[in-house]
Amino acid sequence: DAMVIQNPRYQVTQFGKPVTLSCSQTLNHNVMYWYQQKSSQAPKLLFHYYDKDFNNEADTPDNFQSRRPNTSFCFLDIRSPGLGDAAMYLCATSRVADTQYFGPGTRLTVL
């Protein structure tokens, strides 16, 4: 089945230790998104890629970076995680102006 896959599902890191979360898709969608979701809140868009064009949300901290080496893969890098970065990170994909499909998420814990 075509789908959005996120690895790992659970990630534990130490305060200040860089971490990378991975997303892959078999839908061949040209847009990929990263969201941060904290407990009992709606997802918050961090940035998205339209093909190779990177689009950062104005309020996304510089601590968060992303890479998209090819159509299928996208990575979220957190350079120096703080306690406030503990959250669920959701990847989504879509065609332009179409439905977004979400992955299962990565739960990040910062110790």
Partner: protein, 114 residues
């Protein structure tokens, strides 16, 4: 400003009873509309969507939603709730021209009582 409102933070429904979750949107033009469901610790699963056409939309898991332009609403319904429907439900909207962000409501947590 574009916004989506889900007025109910929590709803408790008895198993087998009917369900309606409310959603209102504020957009300049009618947006694309979506309902997603999220079980604890999981990602968001698309239940149904409305782009245009028939205002009563059928989705997965026995859910349906009705678009009402006059009320700027897109309420989600299910005739008979199952215990497995307990989850967080998000209504979302997206402008229908070019690239537009998905705007979420704050979510409604559904609890199902025996």
């Amino acid at each position: 400003a574009q916004s989506v409102t889900q007025p109910d933070i929590h709803i408790t429904v008895s198993e087998g009873a009917s369900l309606e979750l409310r959603c209102n949107y504020s957009y300049g033009a009618t947006p694309y509309l979506f309902w997603y469901v999220q079980s604890p610790g999981q990602g968001l699963q698309l239940l149904l969507k409305y782009f245009s056409g028939d205002t009563l939309v059928q989705g997965i898991k026995g859910f349906e939603a009705e678009f009402k332009r006059s009320q700027s609403s897109f309420n989600l319904r299910k005739p008979s709730v199952h215990w497995s429907d307990a989850a967080e439900y998000f209504c979302a909207a997206q402008g229908n021209t070019g690239f537009q962000k998905l705007v979420f409501g704050t979510g409604t947590r559904l609890l199902v009582s025996p």
